[in-house]
Symmetry: none
């Protein structure tokens, strides 16, 4: 297993070799996920539980708010298994959970679960109904106050239907991102998704203000983390965005906010790391999304797949049925930079499935 | 793979088992390396690039200032491959580069490249032309200010023709070290080397002052690191000198400076670790060099060879064509103390050669 470069060079990741990371998992519900057929990230009728279960499994190895590990209707287990495997094989120096509007709080003791008083956001087809400015500022404030005891931070997310809100967000901000976003599906439900996004954009017509747009078409994860990342960059705290096209959308939001406020960042202490499945996804183009960002972006993917397993549920990843989430790409990077092999990750993930 | 004791006992290394190290690579050019036939450490006509390429490869896995990995004329790849292999299998907590007078700076981002404003030193046959006192003090100062976040420091070097300057230095300081120094060659070019050393020593005739002698016959690595090591010892920062007879010469320089200034150190937080190839070298006697030091010295070698490979370029190590450098001995020790096997190191080094 190696780290491959999508944009930039490998100095950023090589410098992190052997260093310790804190893993932030940002958790959020948007009611967009309740639209039938829009996401595959969870159990039908209980999609809203996915971030809660991901948090529980990542931290404790148990799902407590439901009997089984969250799987898609086709039986694809959550990419959180990969993140958990990395954590078991070479533990993060700490795990922290960011509650960015959860329907159900994870049942976890000891682990910090940061509560910012954020409610789940609305469905974007009728309006997300977020106070984007306030949320953004909460992110900045958290970054300013956070005491980082590790060498760097890996920021992952679990937000069902987050690629739909990410697509709508980037389009509303004026980026030409049609056909560039990934999905939890192999056969992306384009009609439903496009309809929802079109509805969301129609709600933005005639609105010029950036934060007003975000309030209507975005999700809590993107807005809060834009503030968080900008705050961390100001303090030069090295941050890896662990995710695929949603994290690329986060960079686009940051890019727009920087332009809006006539500020700039070097991008020197910031990178994105995703999975090979996102990198090779024929339905999305993460590199093109990243090239729309005006500051230099280091971007990588972990060259990991399930070619070493015979487990049918895991083989579905290699067939494109799931690609990323719960910071799997960044967790694989962390494992790789600490000497963990593809074989070790594969065996560990298999052990969760029995 | 185990650690064998040359001098002292194994408590020092056992205490470091599982602990994290920062790896310092001290990089320097001396124009002595331009003398035809004096060193095998690099590509003829581009010997001066060796430390630059070693730094690039160690940090990034790429050689950027030249197309290929530095090899000797017989095709022996740099021992930096061993150090890089150790770093991949069990990463150092950080890598730091000390520019002690490089002709060409390595093309590396992110990694700290400490710049002390030091120029490459002159050829010792006509005079190294170093301000030894100033350089020594720069080393002390760096040690006083350095914030060490690891449990200990491993100090390696890449200085082409460094064994020649080390031999001249030790002789100039009055140690009887004839025939005790190693070389990058199997068949040491004794005539050329002895001629150069004799020339260097003749330039010291009639000079009593220690630092004045060092200014004429030594190299930047030995002088700066004497200050660095003494500064670190004063702060009780555990330090492993990763190298063979050059690092033994460093201990002799330290020994002379201590006598000169009527000071002493316990040697308790200091050790040397080299390779089996240096330990078994019939042309040098590292143990005898170390026994000339007045304070107690812990010294070890990593019991590693290339008996598990069939690769002809690596087999040359076992035939004595290359022995040490880029901290290979100390890196092997670090790997060994963290559970890495000879098999793992061998496979990883092979993977670099394709």
């Amino acid at each position: 297993m190696t780290i491959k470069t999508i944009l930039g060079n490998n100095d950023f990741t090589e410098f992190l070799r052997g260093k310790k990371a804190t893993f932030f998992l940002s958790l959020s519900n948007t009611k967009t996920a309740n639209i039938a057929g829009i996401t595959q990230a969870g159990i039908p009728g209980m999609i809203h539980l996915t971030p809660t279960l991901d948090a529980e499994f990542l931290c404790t190895g148990e799902v407590r708010s439901l009997k089984n590990i969250a799987t898609t209707p086709k039986g694809v287990p959550t990419p959180g298994l990969i993140t958990r495997a990395a954590h078991l094989l070479h533990p993060f120096s700490s795990l922290a959970l960011l509650d960015l509007g959860l329907e159900v709080k994870p049942k976890i003791d000891y682990f910090p679960l940061y509560d910012f008083g954020i409610e789940p956001s609305g469905s974007i087809d009728t309006g997300a109904n977020i106070d984007a400015m306030e949320l953004f500022e909460k992110g900045v404030e958290f970054a300013e106050e956070y005491f980082c005891r590790s060498d760097y931070i890996i920021l992952g997310e679990s937000v069902p239907s987050g690629t739909t809100t990410a697509l709508a967000t980037s389009l509303a901000l004026g980026y030409d991102t049609h056909d560039k976003f990934s999905s939890s599906f192999k056969n992306v439900p384009t009609d439903i998704k496009q309809h929802v996004v079109a509805q969301a954009l129609s709600g933005c017509e005639g609105i010029d203000d950036l934060f007003e747009k975000l309030s209507r078409v975005s999700d809590n994860m993107l807005i809060f983390n834009a503030g968080l990342v900008l705050g961390l960059q100001k303090r030069k705290i090295t941050t890896v965005l662990a995710g695929g096209t949603q994290m690329a959308a986060l960079l686009l939001v940051i890019n727009s906010i920087l332009k809006h406020t006539e500020q700039s960042i070097s991008g020197h202490n910031l990178a994105l790391c995703t999975t090979k499945w996102v990198h090779e996804d024929p339905n999305s183009e993460i590199k093109k999304l990243l090239e729309m960002v005006d500051f230099p972006v280091n971007a990588y993917y972990a060259d990991f797949d399930f070619s070493l397993t015979e487990h049918p549920a895991l083989k579905l990843y290699d067939e494109g049925e799931a690609k990323e989430g719960v910071g799997a790409g960044g967790a694989l990077m962390y494992a790789c930079l600490n000497g963990i092999t593809q074989e070790q990750i594969t065996r560990k993930v298999e052990s969760f499935l029995g």
